[in-house]
Amino acid sequence: MAFDSTYTRELPLVDSRSSFAEIDDTVLAPTERKPSKKWFVAFLMANTALLIGAICVGYTLYYGIGMWGNNNPVGWGFDIINFVFWIGIGHAGTLISAILFLFRQKWRTAIARFAEAMTIFAVMTAGIFPILHTGRPWLAGYLLPYPNQNALWVNFTSPLLWDVFAVSTYLTISFVFWGIGLIPDIALMRARAVSGIKKSIYAILSLGWKGSNRDWQNYERVYLILAGLSTPLVLSVHTIVSFDFAVSVIPGWHTTIFPPYFVAGAIFSGFGMVSTCLIILRKVYDMENIITLNHIEKMNKILLATGTMVGYAYGMEFFIAWYSGNPFESFVFINRAFGPYAWAYWIMIACNVGFPQLFWFKKIRRNIGITFVLVLLVNVGMWFERFVIIVTSLHRDFLPASWGMYIPTMYDLGILLGSFGLFFTLLLLFVKVMPSVSLAEIKAVVPGAQPTHHHHSEEH
């Protein structure tokens, strides 16, 4: 079959030739209207989950980590699983906004803002866990290298310390990046705001944006620099998180494949979560023509690619376990696949490697319903990936005499629920007060907004 023109034609990034005003109205509607019933229901649910989590956290702080299922062979359980899970989710945003920006992937504009917000909220949620997981969280400040009269210093050989720096840097840069990106849009909201309070708040947040040429020039420059700064972070944060495991001596953790494997997994899970949220968002706020089916399809392609990378890593772990001849390592992987936690392992394989293979089919990539189910499964699968890595490696390590089982308690489940509650509460508040799509950028990619070659030739 010969290539026809449709094959090379770029798909439009925004469906329908909406006017800028229409776009403004669509995107800013949620921030300017009273929230709908649906929003309140969602907010109530998220808050309930958050409250349950808060209660469980309260019990934990009062009585101790013993409220959880963690035990002697399995020192880390849901606490670190959740941490890695949420940090992973926090990877899509920066990837979309920074790396895709540097690669001039214009399709990112519709989803970048939301993904960035999600990143920040995910990292914030994740950040709770390293503090909460310590036995004495009130002393978590010891993890910071501050001068003190006891001349005590932190241990720079510990990956947990690297985590502290990696995560806090990532959160800071992401936050600044997101905040800078918001300035033109907030300025627009300032202009549109009716109430005085709103106006003054937006006025402060827009940092005196005038929309002048100079403003735009500076803005673009800062944005580019920040994108450049963020790009290595996307790779470094999860690399360092993976060091928590890779640096140890525990079979199943002590592997060199972890950094790339974790980064791929993080992007995979991040895109899974972005898709999950966006599919709901575009439907609820009628943004189907801005966040189009093309976007969903592109994300699905990334999911397929990263899912397959993760699958490769799973396979490679097994291969190395066998190829190295290390009996401890071979045992860990046999135990993963056929031991008492085999169910978790097969959930992980099915959700992360199996089901995403359906995305080879264009029909499925462009089917919202199936996509939604699959991305939900990706979320589940990636959570279980961390469960498998942490729990199955620890529960049966070197000495069979110290083997044991890990069974989470209702407090573990409550805190997991609470983490979703916190994440979605923040997300819902975000869509209420901020534009979930970058107006300034989306306007630039609306069909007809850019001068095109064809257009010119028509004129001539």
Binding site: Y63, G64, I65, G66, G69, N70, N71, N72, P73, V74, G75, W76, H133, T134, G135, R136, P137, L139, A140, Y142, L143, L152, W153, V154, N155, T157, S158, P159, L160, L161, V164, D244, V247, S248, V249, I250, G325, N326, P327, F328, F331, I334, N335, L394, D397, F398, L399, P400, A401, S402, W403, G404, M405, I407
Partner: protein
């Protein structure tokens, strides 16, 4: 609590007497005159004098308060301090925490911060082991064996070590009660004296009386109240062995067996290494011939048993055999040795010939699936090692078995190993079954008016078909002396609290030529009295005759009149007495009883105990709780059973085939019916158990056992019947599936030995190395793996045994440990010693279930072989203090770091509790405080007064959220360093003994300086059998394990272990020689 314990106010009262005497005013010549005033410059004599004496004359005179202002200095200070105290008291409950009074004048024997040691005796059971009690500022904090005591030689069992917790048990009885309400001792004395005077018959129920002085008290009591009968009983009384001995030799004093001279030991349903009588001594003597550092030949232990015991697990050859067939097995052996091999003169004894025909070993072995090879070896060994072997039948076995075994030893000439010392003295004969029946009947028929329980608990631990509790209700005056509330005190009107062994006096006579003394090491914590003293008051009939020193004086008096005069030492009594107290015992030349000849008739006429096809029920002594008295001691409850690793409960162990037959799995309940008695007990399927055998520990299921002790396990005394030939073995028991399940928890998962993934995993992972003694004799280095591991050549790596080589960073003392797996029997006493030394908390059954036990040293158990004939290995596992400690580099706050003497330390204050170190520990020896355990267990039981005083002040009590682990008893190392530096020398490896090392009855643990090449410790560490667990992770552990050698004739055939590796190794050896 009573403030008395810490009240030293009498020692500070004479504050005023301190006088300041002015120094003489000798002016030094040639002194440089630094002057501050002209008077000083010109050396005004008055001034010089004043300068020397510091105080003026006026200052030195006692101030006349009346001449001063209205407010004297003292008054001011008094008011000032009173108001300050008032303010402080108003702000918090400081006063409730007890008075803290500094020593104004230091008592001669107390140096603050230094421990004092007192020799005493353990009252945990009737064995009367000598103890050495460490006290700090007047409170006992640790109990160890008295190293100089001739019997237990520095070792005591778990009960003795943990007894410190029973002293500080907040639920001890604190004052006398009458019908549940508090009473005064004087009133109690009045009432009881009246009852005693009017009583037609008085019964005194006591445990075995091993104290000669107490016997004298009892004699006086009987003299004062002639209608008194004394009933003394003991659950584990060894009665069948004693009565068999009497029948065989005409005496009840059994000789001590010279186990250390036995080359072949045959244990028949005997747990002489763990729960049978005298096991502390046995362990030492057994391990004596398992020492790879000496040239002594290894002994060989055969075990034939129905249950799985510690002894069986440590046997070189073990055969499982239904317990009621053991006697037949003995007869078969006798027939084989006498009838076939004709090894002794008895072979010609015509009376014995008919017996030989009945029992044929080959048939018996075939019928009962005994390993033919092992039986053959056994017969050969026994006939070869005549006079150098010993056959031991268990305490549980009936009299007829013991008679047969005595005869077997007789024909083997093993009587050579009977020493002239006798053991198991009965200072007062124990009551027989008939006596006890008479007691119960007399109580029931209201013949007895007064019954006095001397710290015994017959309502709980007497065979249930006596129905003691019902009978007791018919007695008018029911008196119970006790340390804490129990099932018997609950039925008594007068409950009289007694001193613990830490607070009272006593003496013990358990061995020929040895008397052990028990002295108080702390003032009584509560309003308790010594039971002997109370009895003496009742003897005198005058309640005023009581004084705190009553029994002390009585004991001294008795010693002066009886012991001292019979020993006739060359020093006066006072000196003799104090020397004896300091030593904790006296040994003297007592005329040993001659070992009489065997009465052959006894064996000929011995009525055999026949076997049945029914289930056999074996009631075992509880490994850690003994008879159940110590149930409220959490440390003991949480001490794992050495075999099953189950904690907090007792259970019915059955074999795999029996479980199949009954259709039960682990935790399912089975209903056991023994005659009219029945009980439902959860099942634990135990490898190595004989089919149709149920083995259950006694001592669980206390109903009035205190917060910690109540409701754990099952009251298996309810299966004990007075009708059996032995109180512990019943072979006509009906068993069926019971209703429901009961969860048992253990500290170690057990893995199917036949699962291909986990089969022999301990060998594959180089955790356990073992071989045979013979291989070792041929080539001592046969287990060394220098050049390969897991089949991979590691030439490119430094030597695998690198951890035993010098380390460039540690030039001074470097601490290390050696654990000899040939000696370790898995008894767990190290664990309990560590608990006491290091303030290790109790976590409770629910927390052990989720793997949160806190033991710093644990005994890992591994099985190899088949489920029916498992080969067990024990391995003590503790922090290995790795040179490349993987825990250290992952701690973000550097809370765990290495010291210059090679110790992996923990800074608890710095720890934030990330648990990363525990995750990264390959040995999983780190323990995390998931809760504030002391607050959590038993609703704050372990932080109730006076439990706080139990803790070792040298070791931090860890809060929740903190990681902890073995520190190699760092506090002891620091102490030794202090002493060494005071003495102006460097600390030596032999200066420090860790708590586990001190406690190990088999001396399997050595500790010392691995850099001291002259030391024996260094030699042991470099022993060719030494290896480090998981050496190939390169963490460089500092604990060396000595490979286990089995003294068997056939090679073990473990893949990759002990095989001939031609060429390389031999060459190396040649080079060295």
């Amino acid at each position: 609590m009573d403030k008395k314990i810490f009240d030293i106010s009498d020692k500070i009262k004479k504050d005023d007497e301190i006088q300041l005497v002015p120094q003489g005013d000798i002016e030094p010549k040639g002194e440089v005159n630094y002057w501050r005033s002209f008077k000083e410059l010109y050396r005004d004599p008055e001034f010089i004098k004043a300068k020397k004496s510091e105080f003026t004359k006026e200052q030195l005179e006692k101030p006349d308060v009346s001449k001063m202002g209205g407010l004297s200095r003292r008054k001011f200070l008094a008011l000032f301090s009173a108001s300050a105290a008032l303010a402080a008291a108003g702000c918090n409950d400081y006063r409730d925490k007890g008075e803290i009074i500094p020593y104004n004048k230091k008592p001669e024997e107390v140096t603050v911060g230094r421990p004092n040691f007192y020799a005493s005796a353990c009252a945990g059971c009737s064995a009367g082991c000598g103890t050495l009690i460490r006290t700090r500022e007047g409170r006992p904090v640790k109990v160890d064996g008295n190293p100089e005591h001739p019997v237990n030689q520095g070792k005591i069992c778990a009960i003795g070590q943990a007894s410190i917790m029973s002293l500080y048990d907040p639920e001890r009885l604190k004052e006398p009660t009458v019908k549940g309400s508090k009473a005064k001792w004087a009133d109690v004395d009045d009432k009881i004296l009246a009852d005693l005077k009017n009583a037609k018959q008085i019964a005194v129920v006591a445990n075995a009386i091993t104290s000669p002085t107490f016997k004298k008290v009892m004699d006086e009591f009987v003299a004062a109240y002639p209608n008194t009968k004394i009933y003394s009983y003991e659950v584990f009384d060894n009665s069948t062995r004693k009565s068999a001995w009497q029948k065989c030799y005409g005496t009840r004093n059994m000789p001590v067996v010279k186990l250390e001279e036995a080359k072949i030991i045959l244990a028949l349903e005997s747990d002489f290494l763990d729960t049978d009588e005298g096991h502390i001594e046995n362990l030492r003597k057994f391990a004596y011939n398992r020492d790879v550092m000496s040239d002594r030949e290894f002994n060989r232990l055969y075990a034939v048993e129905g249950a799985m015991t510690v002894t069986g697990m440590n046997a070189d050859y073990r055969m499982r055999l239904k317990s009621d067939l053991i006697e037949e097995f003995v007869h078969c052996l006798i027939s084989e040795l006498l009838g076939k091999k004709k090894i002794s003169n008895y072979a010609t004894d015509g009376r014995l010939t008919p017996i030989f025909g009945r029992s044929i070993l080959d048939d018996f072995a075939k019928k009962n699936n005994l390993d033919k090879k092992i039986v053959e070896n056994l017969v050969n060994d026994l006939s070869k090692a005549q006079g150098e072997s010993i056959v031991i039948a268990g305490d549980k076995m009936p009299e007829s078995t013991h008679i047969a075994v005595n005869f077997l030893n007789e024909i083997l000439g093993n009587t050579k190993l009977y020493s002239t010392e006798a053991q198991g003295f009965e200072v007062m004969a124990l009551s027989s079954k008939d006596d006890m029946n008479a007691l119960v009947n007399d109580m029931r028929s209201k013949k007895i008016d007064v019954v006095i329980h001397l710290d015994v608990n017959p309502a709980f631990n007497l065979a249930k078909n006596y129905k003691y509790d019902e009978a007791l209700k018919n007695v008018n005056t029911r008196v119970a002396f006790s340390e804490s509330a129990n099932e018997t005190t609950a039925l008594c009107d007068y409950v009289l609290p007694v001193h613990t062994s830490f607070e009272g006096w006593g003496d013990y006579k358990t061995r020929t030529g040895v008397m052990t003394l028990q002295q108080p090491v702390v003032n009584p914590l509560y309003n308790t009295r010594q039971k002997e003293a109370v009895m003496l008051v009742w003897v005198s009939g005058k309640k005023e005759s009581y004084r705190d020193t009553l029994y002390h004086e009585y004991l001294m008096d008795n010693w002066e009149k009886n012991v001292y005069t019979s020993i006739k030492p060359s020093i006066d009594f006072k000196r003799y007495w104090f020397a004896a107290l300091q030593d904790g015992f006296v040994s003297y030349a007592e005329k040993p009883a001659a070992n009489p000849a065997f009465i052959t008739e006894t064996f000929v006429n011995n009525a055999r105990t026949n076997s049945t096809n029914d289930f056999v029920l074996l009631l075992q002594k509880h490994h850690s709780l003994g008879d159940g008295k110590h149930a409220n001691n959490g440390w003991l409850q949480e001490l794992p059973n050495p075999i099953s690793k189950i904690v907090w409960d007792n259970y019915a162990a059955i074999s795999i085939a029996s479980a199949k037959e009954l259709g039960v799995k682990d935790n399912d309940k089975i209903k056991i019916t023994n005659g009219g008695l029945s009980l439902e007990v959860p099942v634990f399927i135990q490898a190595g158990l004989a089919d149709k055998v149920i083995s259950i520990e006694l001592g669980g299921g206390r109903k009035t056992g205190g917060t910690i002790g109540t409701g754990n396990g099952f009251d298996t005394y309810s299966l004990m019947s007075a009708a059996g030939t032995s109180a512990f073995l019943y072979n006509n028991v009906k068993v069926e599936k019971g209703s429901g399940t009961y969860e048992l928890v253990s500290t170690q998962e057990h893995h199917a030995v036949d699962d291909p993934v986990t089969k022999d995993i301990q060998y594959k992972r180089d955790i356990i190395r073992e071989g045979t003694y013979e291989e070792y004799r041929k080539k001592p280095k046969f287990l060394q793996k220098d050049d390969e591991i897991h089949g991979i050549r590691l030439d490119s790596f430094p030597s695998i045994n690198e951890s035993t080589k010098e380390h460039p960073y540690y030039t001074g003392v470097k601490w290390a440990m050696v654990l000899d797996m040939n000696k370790c029997t898995g008894c767990n006493y190290c664990t309990i010693a560590c608990n006491v030394e290091n303030n290790i908390p109790v976590v409770g059954k629910d927390q052990v279930k989720v793997n949160r036990e806190m033991h710093w040293i644990r005994i890992d158990r591994y099985y190899a072989g088949t489920p029916d004939a498992p080969r067990a290995n024990f391995q003590p596992m503790l922090c290995q203090h790795c040179d490349n400690a993987p825990c250290e580099n992952v701690c973000p706050v550097a809370a765990t770091t290495h010291s210059t003497d090679g110790i992996n330390g923990m800074a608890y204050n710095r720890c934030v509790g990330t648990r990363y170190c525990a995750n990264n520990c390959p040995y999983k020896v780190r323990r995390f405080n998931y809760f504030n355990w002391r607050d959590r267990v038993g609703d704050g039981f372990y932080q109730t007064d006076p439990m706080n005083y139990m803790y070792n002040p040298e070791v931090t009590v860890r809060s929740r959220g903190v990681m902890e682990k073995c520190t190699f008893c760092l506090q002891r190392i620091m102490d030794a360093k202090g002493v060494a530096s005071y003495e102006g020398r460097r600390v030596k490896g032999s200066d420090v003994k860790t708590a586990c090392q001190e406690a190990c009855p088999a001396n399997a643990i050595s500790f010392g300086d691995m850099n001291d090449k002259k030391s024996e410790f260094y030699q042991q560490r470099m022993h060719p059998l030494g290896y480090g667990v998981l050496e190939d992770i390169k963490v460089k552990p500092n604990v060396t394990y000595i490979s286990k050698l089995r003294n068997i004739l056939e090679p073990l055939g473990i893949e990759g272990m002990g095989e001939e590796k031609p060429g390389k190794d031999e060459k190396k050896e040649e080079k060295k020689h």
